[in-house]
Symmetry: D2
Subunit: 243 residues, 4 copies
């Protein structure tokens, strides 16, 4: 099971891309867990690779600035755990994460090859819960009570999107194959148009699952585009033109 | 992007496997879209490969028989679409599926290389909506109002699981990387223990997304085991022993 | 606590009535638990009064016929309980209903003065689960997996309403102060316009709670109108006129 | 419709009371909208009566202190509205509240006889969103993204209750017949045991809807008890004794 050949579908992707329209008035960017707990190597408890952190922060800053300039709202959704007496982190109620902590050893971590922990991840009041400063601007919305992988679960994200009149949900953030993918699934299920920005996502679990996450979205439930394509679609949408 | 190297994690998987306990009294099998619309080549509108259909039906029959014999409830969750006046299939309200139909051509289908359609898929009253007879037994539960990818969305699955006292959700069905994976995500988010039976799942989207769907579960949110391992864990659970 | 004076708000109600518009294209009627388990005295296990049953069935038939003639979809939502091995009715998992059964005596029932039971209410396959025939027509939608008081909980009602483009939810059924009121609350929370048809609702719990249910809707979350007003608003809505 | 006779059910209530057990380890108090926007006459935009505010604050302080001393967690759930560009308060997306503002006049307000407004109610950053200081202690939980009437809608309340192992939800707050009643309905639907503390609730809509809200809970979905009874049940639950 060590190598997988990706099924190529260039004609289908080209056709789908032609169908994509992004009217800025009906679009929002949802930035998923763009916090120091993933992206600041000094404090991260579930770190992306340093290279990915640099790449994603730079690209996300550009994408968010472009979006804001077109009047597209930016919604940050951030995981924050309470520390409960006698229980510890809210994360540790999960039976899988309990098993992960019981099973993993120093040389064999949740994040391959890097120190990582659910138990201490993004506890209320710790630096990990801070949004990367370059990505946060006045006027952005912040939802900071995400508890598991899906940005919609236990939050008012759907309410906010509908209140803002959003039909197109543009996703960026960490991890491509977990929180971004899970949120893409739910956004699809709720009949939003789902877009993932490939320049602005990464996975701490490995390049393979990053690629999977993108392929899974592109072939089954939405659009995967890079920053340049995102800007093109926003320009076209603002001009009211279909290309 | 044509080849992906899978990150190998045998030590972690071995450790997680040791942590897995399946008490039959707290376990249910959820069979996802095991209907003729995916698995009967004569009528399928979103067909798995013929080889996968044979493999999955045979293995699922064995797994379900074993589970029932241990007192484990079996819950079939099936997608069925109403046909609405002036709208057509409920499926076609999805903006991605609309775009897919607009973009795809005869030689470039939703299911690579095989005739396939969302528009005519599993309309109420059509043969595609029938559960594969070998997999359905008296005493099984049937939930037949799934509308999108997540078995929990718009259904009473969570209510039924909790009413039955279920803590462990064992998944099988079609497709590994969409409905099974999306349901695994939600079951994880609801703090169930999530197990996917690798012998009893397949993907019409390609072997790559099948493999990566399993990797995604095994490394990020649950357990992927084969039938033999499932039987071993049920035996151990029934004996009240941890192995 | 034996008598309550209702706060009169005629001027406010008149003003709210003027604001109400019901475009048939954006309206649906949701008929709540209009089944024999409440309304057919021969089989009902949670019976309305015989007088209420006659009144509600006659008025509901008229309202539904009028609505269908205007192209307004009719959605029946019905409570049906599975009987689970070792558990009995799904209803009996509820701690309140368990306590109710433990506490109530022959002369002191759930429904004051009339034989009534949760334990045997609307079990799958029993006559109580049948929709009153006068109220069911070809082309109506039926959702039959309601499990508690809220028609939205564990069902695809929200999905169906949104798929049909509905913005106005018109409620009728049993009981005014439980399933109708709970569904009104949730429809309000989801930002639908909520209308309750006073001629087509009743409560088995007593006239006081019927009145409460209506007052609570009219003063806090929606509109309570009679059949005549409903027809007037549908006519005006069809004509595209605001009155 | 000016007077309503309450159906008396003393024998049933006595029987239900005997069935009620409140083990502090499985109990939480949910304080609903105990903020200055309802209870501080200097800033309230949806004010309770001054007398009710005094009564509810004093009784709630006593009940919360007693509960905390028994180890019962206290969860405050508070409505807070964002102010959105071009939209205003998130509250004003509701079609009923839009109609209410269009219909109501100076002498005929949402809250009978008192200045009141949805439009300016509990906007982010305003004093109305502050929890009444006497009721908030270190160690309490605060959920401050409630948007409509149901404390469960768009919040992580259910997640928190389940993480804490709660089976009994004890409600207090404002208003008896809207947010408290709606939350009671949903807690019932989720199979929690529902208790409302009659000494610690009030309604700005009028005494009639307060009384009928309590009747609705007590006869259809849960328990209505006063502070003294609450303390008695907590003592008995702590002692592991059923009385």
């Amino acid at each position: 099971m060590s190598t997988v050949n990706i099924v190529d579908r260039p004609a289908l992707f080209a056709g789908l891309y032609r169908e994509l329209e992004l009217d800025p008035k009906e679009t929002a960017v949802v930035a998923v867990d763009m916090h120091r707990g993933h992206l600041d190597m000094d404090v991260a408890t579930m770190p992306a690779t340093p290279e990915d952190a640099v790449r994603v922060i730079a690209n996300a800053e550009a994408a968010l600035d472009y979006a804001r300039a077109k009047g597209v709202p930016v919604i940050h959704v951030i995981l924050v755990y309470r520390k409960l007496p006698g229980i510890g982190s809210e994360g540790m109620v999960s039976p899988f994460w309990q098993a992960m902590h019981a099973a993993m050893r120093e040389e064999d971590r949740l994040v391959p090859g890097r120190a990582s922990t659910v138990r201490e991840h993004n506890i209320e009041g710790t630096p990990g819960t801070e949004i990367i400063p370059e990505l946060l601007r006045k006027g952005d919305y912040v939802i900071d009570n995400k508890k598991r992988l899906d940005c919609f679960y236990g939050t008012d994200l759907r309410f906010l999107l509908d209140t803002l009149g959003v039909k197109n949900v543009v996703l960026m953030g960490i991890n491509t194959n977990t929180c971004v993918l899970n949120t893409a699934f739910t956004a699809f299920n709720f009949d939003y148009r789902v877009v993932v920005l490939s320049d602005c996502v990464a996975s701490m679990y490995g390049e393979d699952l990053h690629v999977l996450g993108l392929q899974n979205v592109a072939r089954c439930l939405g659009w995967v585009i890079n920053n340049e394509q995102f800007f093109e679609k926003l320009d076209a949408g603002a001009a009211g033109a279909k290309r």
